[in-house]
């Protein structure tokens, strides 16, 4: 999936955020020397291609009182992990879920599901719900609570040199 130079410029000026003005796409257009319809069309095309997932906001879990955020990890039968992963990803309290490689012997887990809640007890109860769905296909699990944010910057597209 390639972006042309104009798409990349749109990404560069919007990846930190969209201007909070009545006509944000016109504001982006002005910065880039484009027209408002061009910017809207290009953003629509990037959404179509999956480059942009959505336009919106990311709430801060901590500020909303959801301070117990656990990365639940599961060792699931390789033949069943994709099918079961879809079910786990669909749970309302799971915000991200991925299949990842194991790193044996230290790390036997291949399914990751981020679970958010206001207390560890709440998160543990949700973890039990996941365990019930996985059933016998799961050979082991763990949960890793975050104890501190050490760094948090958005993912940035770096300017191409030259």
């Amino acid at each position: 999936m390639t972006l042309d130079a104009t798409d990349r410029r749109i990404v560069e000026v919007t990846q930190a955020g969209l201007p909070l003005v009545p006509a944000p796409f016109a504001a982006v257009a002005e910065v880039l020397g484009l027209t408002e319809p061009e910017v809207i069309d290009r953003i629509a095309a990037m959404k179509e291609r999956g480059v942009i997932r959505r336009i919106g906001g990311a709430p801060n879990h901590y500020k909303l009182g959801m301070t117990a955020n656990g990365m639940s990890v599961w060792d699931v039968d390789d033949g069943l992990v994709d099918q079961l992963g879809e079910k786990i990803g669909a749970l309302p309290f799971v915000t991200h879920s991925y299949r990842r490689p194991r790193a044996l012997p230290v790390w036997p887990y291949n399914l990751f599901a981020m679970v958010h809640g206001s207390t560890r007890d709440e998160v543990d109860a949700k973890r039990a719900e996941i365990a019930a769905i996985l059933g016998d296909a799961c050979r082991g699990s763990d949960i890793l609570f975050s104890t501190k944010i050490l760094k948090k910057t958005g993912l940035r597209l770096r300017r191409k040199e030259g």
Partner: protein, 151 residues
Amino acid sequence: MTQDIDTTDRALLNRLQDDLPLDRRPFAALGQELDLTEVEVLARISRLRDTGYLTRFGPFYDAAALGGAFCLCAMEVPEDRYETVTEQVNAHSEVAHNYARDHRLNMWFVMATESAEGIQATARRIEAETGLQVLLFPKEREFFIGFRVAA
């Protein structure tokens, strides 16, 4: 902790987790849904962003679709070196997020680079600087439904 936002703010926070209409006046369109004026919507989003309830507002780009590479990494860091290693890891601009977690693997971070080779190269550099192993957990498949919390 959460007293400084009202029910309208909560409704807005929930609505903003869905897609904004790709309209010339998107905040006016949002306002119609929530029974607010365009000015009120903008003022509330600005305030939620300034007070940290929204970590960001704008397009969410798929890192892989932008042509970059993306990898979750973990390290087992001795407690007495934790602070130093945190500085060494965070000094790399490729490290986007880094969390301390209560496990034998006690440091988990996400790397974002222009290419897959960049992930390997950065991991090797961190290993050389710290003398510690960097385990790589690239995503093989995403079970993506939506990123959503009830505000």
